[in-house]
Symmetry: C2
Subunit: 191 residues, 2 copies
DNA sequence: ACCTCTATCTTGACACTGGAAAGATAACAG
DNA sequence: CTGTTATCTTTCCAGTGTCAAGATAGAGGT
């Protein structure tokens, strides 16, 4: 019976998990560090040692978020045809999956100023996500910043509007129909 | 010499202006009601009488924001060719203009949960913006929710990425070139 | 003119927040 | 077993949003 040892053991991970739960529950604007500490069953000042301040915690969470974000795209890609265009559409669907399943985390990545992109870990995680997009656009024949922007904006726009709950008529479709519809829309932006 | 009359005269408008300045300076996540009151030269509890609470103030600001948002689209439309497709592209450019010029306000409209869409004024302002999009898509031949979503997502994606500063290579072009590039991208999403 | 009524604004209080400082506890290296 | 260090708690402070009570002034009726 590990009641409540003074030393948690893996508080860092526990705090990250608690922070994501807090984010999902209350959103970034009502995010409370003290509440995160309570969720992890620890004093309000405990996070400071692992993350410094709130920005540090959110920065670490965002870095994890970018890795999950890439993983969501990878899951779709694994099920798609191997040609470059199909892979790019699949990545777009994964992009949207992530935003729909974790809207608050998605907004932390793309719509928050409480993360520090000077941080090396976050910076490299974000760059990896961007590089993956750029590679795929190149593989599909895109050769300009405009081609990149077109694909990115289409996927991002769908994802952000879904996360905001503004595409309910589309979200209401059966998953298969919904995916087909979204895939067709994404395809319009392809090179 | 109107030194400091006990009654402000037009505190409501002054508070809205101060709130937008506060939003632009600190972003939605560091938005402080007391700081807004200070900007307007008034006690920290003065806003309560006009807006109730912080959510009330942000809701009123968002309603104003949607009207400015539509006005930004109207400005572009007035300079564009009268055919439906050109008007739709122009509206998209106005959409992006607004996001680029007032990124914090743009995020209040599309990425905040601190506004109350149950409020009649905000709700009707937001609906007016949506109706304008739907009308334009219909006029351009769009007849499905997918057509609507495609155009909306493309404009919104470009706007949100610009507001987040993630399309710097495109933002760096001369205005005319930039607009032409964005117009070409938006055109991909048209019916 | 005066006098009430009501809207507007201020003051003071409360619980909550993030962060700093200092102390307590336990793991670990020797 | 002991000194050292990492981890966590306690205590404190300034700042925040909201509520309640009081102060001020404009508006309308007589």
């Amino acid at each position: 019976m590990t009641e409540k040892p003074y030393h948690h053991g893996d508080l860092r991970s526990a705090l990250l998990a608690a922070a994501e739960a807090e984010l999902a529950d209350k959103g970034i604007e009502a995010f409370s560090l003290r509440s995160v500490a309570k969720r992890a069953g620890v004093s309000h000042a405990a996070p400071a040692h692992h993350f410094g301040d709130t920005q540090g915690l959110l920065t670490a969470l965002a870095a994890e978020g970018y890795r999950l974000f890439l993983a969501a795209q990878g899951q779709r890609e694994a099920k798609a045809a191997p040609d470059a265009r199909a892979q790019l559409v699949a990545a777009g669907l994964g992009y949207i999956d992530f935003a729909a399943q974790r809207p608050a985390l998605f907004r932390l990545l793309f719509g928050s100023n409480r993360t520090d992109y000077g941080n090396a870990d976050l910076s490299s995680a974000a760059n990896a996500a961007y590089a993956h997009l750029a590679d795929q656009v190149f593989a599909a024949g895109g050769r300009s910043v405009a081609e990149e922007a077109a694909v990115w904006a289409m996927a991002h726009g769908l994802a952000d509007l879904m996360a905001a709950g503004r595409l309910k008529p589309i979200a209401a479709f059966q998953p298969a129909d919904r995916d087909a519809m979204l895939a067709a829309i994404i395809a319009r932006a392809l090179p």
